[in-house]
Structures are given as structure tokens and as C-alpha cells.
């Protein structure tokens, strides 16, 4: 008796009226997968880099993020501390291990800083991103040994650091960067998890009224580093 797998594939081929693809037909598809062609990309990101940064900020706000700008990574701890104050949040944060080497917290002594993954009790996390997509104000984050995914979902508030040169126009440009970066590093295209995040968590399940903070973060704050 043939396996369920063979039967399903057999049934597909029978319905399509052909055998398994071979020769040139198969080669064409392999080529498509090896070098994925781009489809239509909306014009709206057809801007110079400054224009894309502007679009990115507008789209973040449209997606209900807040944004603050600083001129260098050394300004990030102060910007975070100010934002926590403005939002009336506790002066505590958990940072991804990936940030430990980049951020110097010595100027914000009242801020309690932990490093690691979230156990679900943290109020606020701070993480880097991989790319910012101007087209829709979308943040691309990847998982890695120093980038636990739990920091993107469990805390009530998620703060991300976006460096200006991480901002790209359309989503396709972010994929292109990911492919290049990972080919250099490990060879596989995808890490375990890639999150595309556009605004804070929400639900419309109670009478279609939008409510923030359904399971994931209620607030998503972006610190844009223009260095």
C-alpha cells in the first residue's frame, strides 16, 4: 500500500493530468526558487533615503507606535528613561543580549537593567531590529542566540532601536538584506523566527472595537538613531 504522501501527490498529478515535473519544467521552477524574481512593488517607496525615513516615521505613527529620535547609540538609555517617565512606567527594562555590548547604561543609574529572555513578568523590553520597512512602518526582527523572540511579545511595552541605515523602502528590500546577511553567516536563508511587527498588539473581537494590548505589548515605542 502506498503512503498518504504518495497518494496525495498522485491525486494532485491525476487531477492535473500529468506526471511529476521533470527536465526543463522542473528546472524553471528550481531557478525561480534559487533566484526569486520580484513582483510588482508599489511606487510609494520610490524615494531617496531621507524620503523613506520620513515615510517610515509616518507609517509607524499610523500603526499606533510612538517615536523619539536621538543622534547616537549613546543617547538611547536617556531617551528610554525619558519615555518611561512620560508614560508613567516603572524604571525597569530587560534588554536583549545582543544590545549588551552596544549600550552603556552608566548615565541612567536609576534605571534597573536586566539582560536575557523574558519569563513573562517584565514590563518593558528593549531590542534591536534587523530592518525597518518604510512602505508600511513594519519592523523586521529575527531570532538568534542573542535575540530571544520572547522579548518581542511577553512584556507590556516593547521598545525598539532602529538605526537610520536599517530603514529600507519595500518589504522585498528587507528580504534581500536578510538573504545577504545570512548567506555570509550561516548559509540558511531563515532563522528560526522572523517577526514582521506593525504597531502594538490589538484585537477587534469585542464588538469590532479596536482594543490595544490583546496578548502582546500594549505600547510599541521606536527610538530612531540618526547617526
Amino acid at each position: 500500500m502506498s503512503s498518504a504522501r504518495d497518494q496525495i501527490l498522485g491525486s494532485i498529478r491525476k487531477s492535473l493530468g500529468r506526471e511529476a515535473l521533470a527536465g526543463e519544467d522542473a528546472a524553471k521552477l528550481h531557478e525561480k526558487l534559487a533566484r526569486p524574481p520580484r513582483n510588482l512593488i508599489p511606487d510609494r517607496t520610490d524615494l531617496d533615503h531621507d524620503g523613506q525615513v520620513g515615510l517610515f516615521k509616518d507609517k509607524l505613527v499610523a500603526a499606533a507606535c510612538s517615536v523619539s529620535e536621538v543622534s547616537g547609540m549613546d543617547q538611547v538609555p536617556k531617551a528610554l528613561s525619558e519615555w518611561l517617565g512620560r508614560e508613567n512606567l516603572a524604571a525597569r527594562v530587560i534588554q536583549s543580549p545582543a544590545l549588551a555590548a552596544d549600550l552603556d547604561w552608566s548615565d541612567t543609574p536609576t534605571l534597573e537593567v536586566k539582560t536575557g529572555m523574558s519569563d513573562g513578568t517584565d514590563e518593558t523590553s528593549i531590542t534591536p531590529i534587523f530592518a525597518g520597512v518604510a512602505e508600511t512602518g513594519t519592523l523586521m526582527l529575527q531570532s538568534d542566540a542573542s535575540l530571544p523572540t520572547s522579548l518581542n511579545f511577553l512584556p507590556e511595552n516593547h521598545v525598539v532601536i532602529v538605526r537610520e541605515n536599517q530603514i529600507v523602502g519595500p518589504l522585498e528590500d528587507a528580504w534581500a538584506r536578510l538573504r545577504t546577511a545570512r548567506a555570509a553567516e550561516s548559509g540558511e536563508t531563515m532563522p528560526r523566527t522572523v517577526n514582521l511587527i506593525t504597531g502594538p498588539s490589538r484585537t477587534g473581537d469585542i464588538e469590532q472595537k479596536i482594543q490595544m494590548g490583546a496578548h502582546g505589548p500594549r505600547r510599541l515605542h521606536v527610538i530612531l538613531v540618526r547617526d
Binding site: S15, A20, L29, E207
Partner: protein, 473 residues
Amino acid sequence: MDSTSKNFKANSRRALDDSTLQRALGNIKTGFQEKRRQVTSELPEFEALRDQGRDIKNHVLANLDFYLERFEEKVVENGGVVHWCRTPEEARKTILDIAKTRNAQTVTKGKSMVAEEIGLNDYLEENGIEPVETDLGEYIIQLRHEPPSHIIAPAIHVTREQIAEDFRKHHTDLDPERRLETPQDFTDEARAKLRDRYFAADVGVTGANFLIAETGSTVIVTNEGNGDMTQLLGKCHVVIASLEKIVPTLEDASTILRLLARSATGQEMSVYTTFSTGPRRAKDLDGPEEFHVVLLDNGRSAMLGTEFQDMLRCIRCAACMNHCPVYAAVGGHAYGWVYPGPMGAVLTPSLIGVEEAGHLPNASTFCGRCESVCPMRIPLPKMMRHYRTREFERDLGSPRVKSALKLWAGLATRPKLYRFATGIVMRVLGALGGKAGKFKSLPLAGGWTKVRDMPAPQGKTFHQLYAEKKRVA
């Protein structure tokens, strides 16, 4: 899930008389329709993207075997397992076996229509495993022991007063006098209740909006973040998906993503679009230890090459039901199975058979709005007509019946005439049927009523009831 699709008419009549339901359904217009209109008007390329979305899926369907094999290869390369399942039984059993291997007590679930299709929750419960729905809407209907009534807003038929009652009944550890009025009250309570469940779960089951052949990734698109916690915090991530969810590349997924959220909720992007590829990597700090993809056929491979193949392009955005006057009048439960609205009227008979659901395609005014908003350009009205023809061609009895039905089918495709003619027929039948409530024989369809009783029309057609309701509303 068992179907009551046969009773569409009776279900509809009940729905039209249910004032709570009618109030809940009233939110659709201001919600989904208006938001979709707004967001699509801000993207000049939207129509061209619809053409491309259609072409991508047509290309996938023509090469489905190739892309499925390639997807499996990539999943395995990344340390995951693919389980091929022909039937709902096989899929349920596969998931139960995975759960048992891990001695699972609870299974958390992200929203999945395919899980509904295979009746996963009931099956797990029967086998001593507690399924925990984590999407707020799904959680609410799980408390109410109801099926979803909409494919992206499963609790759209429930009012907040009803939810308050359910929460008080089930969350007995909380102060019975607490306030449950604003959407925030409900959201916060469910958030707190579900937090611990994610961590305690042995297995997290999610659906998939896409499977990517290029990379072996599965993709979920959500707004709440519950699906992400389900797949991140469970020790084992099980993805259940039907065959046609495949797309070739990340670029192709990106194109369809531009259509999906705009058509569904009127957002440019949903909040969370997450690509999962295999189990956690050697040095990762979090993520599941196992990754399984359960691939379900359940009749889809046989739809290829038929006049219903186009239905397999569906991306489950719900635009068709959000713009359907029949759905807006009767809600999702009237359709009697998992998939309601125009997409359900076509898909349900394809999946569970014409015997069960062959007359769902009649639940249409043929206004064409579903096709005009469908991002994948699925010719829904045309396929509903195919089903009418099929139902007619099935062995329905004598040539006389056939010609009578042919007349009716001809009428049915001309809405004005149909309303006029069936109005007359129904008035006559209503009088004939009287108080008995059921017909033993029907002048036009003797062969049909020989095998089943037909509910007596109440002297009014569905369209008339619907028009009256609209007037009072």
C-alpha cells in the same frame, strides 16, 4: 465538525428573528467595509496586485506537487517533520499522537480554520487532552461551546453583554462584582487568564496563512500576538495547514501580504506576520524543541482540474462575507459548517459533499459584490451557479423533475425573475403545507422530497424576509 448545512433555510429564519444577533451583525458595515474601502483607495496599485495574487496562486496550483515536495525538503533540512494527511481523521490522529508522545495535558491553540475543519478540539477532549483557544474571539466561543461564525472574527455574533455573562460564569475565582463593560475590561481579563496557559502547554497548535516552498517556513498573520506565544512557548509547535497554502517564495508571500490585511481588516499590514522555520536552533534562548507540519488534503487535490479549482486560491481574508448581504442578514452559523458566506457556499459542498451542503450555493442574491472585493479574483457567483447545475444533474429523479428544476435553475440565475417566481411558489406552498410544517411531496421536485422532507415555507421567501428585516432595521 458536524454540519447542519442542510438546514440553511430554517437556520436563516431563526437568525433573522434573533434580535441580539441582528444587533451584533450591524457592526460589519462600519467596521470591515468602510476600513477596506479606505485603505485600498490609498494604494493605486491594488487592482494590479490582485491580478498578480491570482496569477501566483494559479501558478502554485498548476505545480502544486512540485512545491509541496520542495517545501517538505526544506522543513526536514531545518529539523522539522511534515505529516501528509488525506482525511480529517488522519490529521486528528497525527496531532493526538504528537501530543501523546510528549505526555501533553494541555494544547494551546492559535486561531486555525483548518483545525475547526478537522474538529480538533472535540477530538482532543475526548482523548483526555485539554485544548485552550488563545485568540480572544476563539476563547469566547470556546467558553460558549459554539462554532465560529466568521473566519477572521469568530465571535462577531456575540454582544458584550453575553461575553460578560460568560466571563462571570467561567472565571469564578474573580470578584463577581467586577466591572465588565469596556472592550479593555474583557481584553485585560482574557490576557491575564491565558498568560499562564502558554507556559504550561506541552504543545502549541497554530494554523498557517502561507507555507513557503523556498525556505520551508510557515507563516501566521495575526493582530493579537496569541499565535506567536502559542508557537514560541509550547515545547512543541504543530502547524496544521491545507495543501493550497503554499507559495513559492518570500517575494510571492510579500505580494499576497499586500492584499491580505487590506482585504480582511482594512489594515496595511496586520500587527504580527511571523515566519517559523524548524525548531529552535542550537544556541537559541527560546523557541519550541520540535516543529511539525500537518498537511491536510481533505478533498482539495480532487478539486484541481475541476470548475472549482479557482476556489483553492482563497486566502481566507473574509472580504466576501464582509460584503455579502445574505451573510449580513443571517450571520455565519446559518451556513451550518466551518466556512460561511460566499466562500463557504462554494467550499463547503466541495469538502463535505453536495449531499450535505449542495443548496448552500442558493444562499445568494447574485449581486456580485463578493467577486468584486475578492483579492484573489475568485469567480464566486459563477461557481455557485456550477453547483446549482451539479445539484440538478445529480440523480434527482424523472425527466419531468429535471425539466422543472431546469426552469427553476434558469430563473435562479436571473435574480428579479427568481424573486418574483419563487415568491409565487412559496406563497402557494405555504398555503399547502399549512400547520404540518413539512411537505411530503412538492409539485416541482417530487424526486427530491421522496428522500427527505422539505421544511414548509412560511409563505415568504428568504428574500422577502430579508427585505422586511431591512425595513425594520
